[in-house]
Symmetry: C2
Subunit: 235 residues, 2 copies
């Protein structure tokens, strides 16, 4: 029953917040007059209120109301009764800590699997994987676990960046980091470039957007998949 959009980023270069996704979101949330926004990831540390305002403005363009989860007295009821849910990007460690603190991990999982339309961008997409262990974020707070929702049977690396062959920087490339992950984990990883998203429709997972994605499987050479391709069998 799952209906989820798992996007690499909220914003692509040269456009406004969620602009590139609005036509898709209009369809995705076609029977929602209001959605619940989870602002816990707080990009750049902005407040829940500030973050929710940005989201309200974007969704007003497709005539959908937005209410921040922090505006509800009972978070669990808000999730259970939501017509649609959106978790925005920011810091994944903070997001996951807050979800655990408020006992929302299992509830969010079952609600999404039961069919409440879900959108995640960046950190909000990271949590759809089996673990948050392929986030790019800085560990600014210590969550009780790295285990996440498992809406999909693999992990996401959002904002996936190809190695820059001209770089003189000695920090690890994204590919090196994911290779290190696979020394200790067998979970496949989808490197989602900015502007790409996964559409989950019941048991079918499809790559969408203009770009190809890079797939990392344990003990395999990484490979590209074309947009439009079915990823349902990746696990």
């Amino acid at each position: 029953m799952t209906k989820a959009i798992i996007a690499s980023t909220s914003t692509i270069h040269g456009s406004t917040y969620l602009e590139y996704l609005l036509p898709t979101l209009k369809e995705h949330y076609y029977n929602c007059s209001e959605i619940v926004f989870i602002p816990f990831a707080r990009p750049s540390g902005i407040s829940h209120e500030e973050y929710t305002l940005i989201v309200k403005k974007a969704f007003s363009q497709i005539n959908i109301q937005v209410k921040g989860l922090h505006e509800f007295d009972d978070y669990s009821n808000a999730i259970k009764n939501a017509q649609g849910i959106f978790t925005g990007g920011g810091n994944t460690f903070l997001l996951v800590s807050q979800l655990y603190k408020n006992n929302l991990i299992e509830l969010l999982r079952t609600t999404i699997l039961a069919g409440t339309p879900y959108l995640g961008t960046s950190a909000g997409s990271n949590i759809c994987g089996l673990t948050m262990s392929t986030t790019n974020d800085m560990p600014i707070v210590y969550p009780p676990s790295f285990k996440t929702l498992g809406i999909i049977p693999f992990n996401i690396n959002p904002h996936y960046l190809d190695p820059d062959p001209t770089s003189t920087h000695k920090g690890e490339t994204r590919e090196t980091r994911i290779k290190e992950f696979h020394k200790f984990n067998t979970i496949p990883v989808v490197g989602l470039r900015e502007g790409s998203w996964l559409t989950v429709d019941d048991k079918t997972i499809t790559l969408n957007g203009n770009l190809d994605a890079r797939i990392f499987e344990c003990n395999k050479i990484p490979y590209e998949v074309n947009t439009g391709q079915d990823l349902s069998d990746l696990n």
Copy 2:
């Protein structure tokens, strides 16, 4: 009594492993014929053996023998009896997990504070701070805590990268990430550019290398410090 070198990176562009630091290390380890190398961070997932070979080769140029910690039967005794210690870079989550698993955090701290000459590069420098929360690494394993050695009264961000004004990528800049850290933590952060290092000599902490460093303090505008400057009062 502390004698530590806390370096941004092991390797700078266009030179071999540790090459730029060798003259400094010759002085630093002047009374050591052999040092103990902690290979737990395993860059790119290489084995302890492979990693130690790279380090042996570098140190052979200044006539210092290297023994990997994994070669000892008793890790605690190896640390206690070391003439000098070096922790190499790689994945900080893995390094910290292994240090906790082997009960070495407190012992390493007291050994370094008692005067055993220490070198850290990258992940091995991250652990000298109060927490590992300003690492750039991917959380490939879940450590029991983010608390680290606290050899210095602040945190390190190694491989510090200035924002690229021409970038179209929407992932967070390093400065944005550290700003998020300071929404939840008051610990100052030293952004150490590649080729820079801190020298800790008893209570005195000095910035060395060719480059300036960028300092991030909670609720302050980030600022630059020149190489050669004393950072002992940053806390």
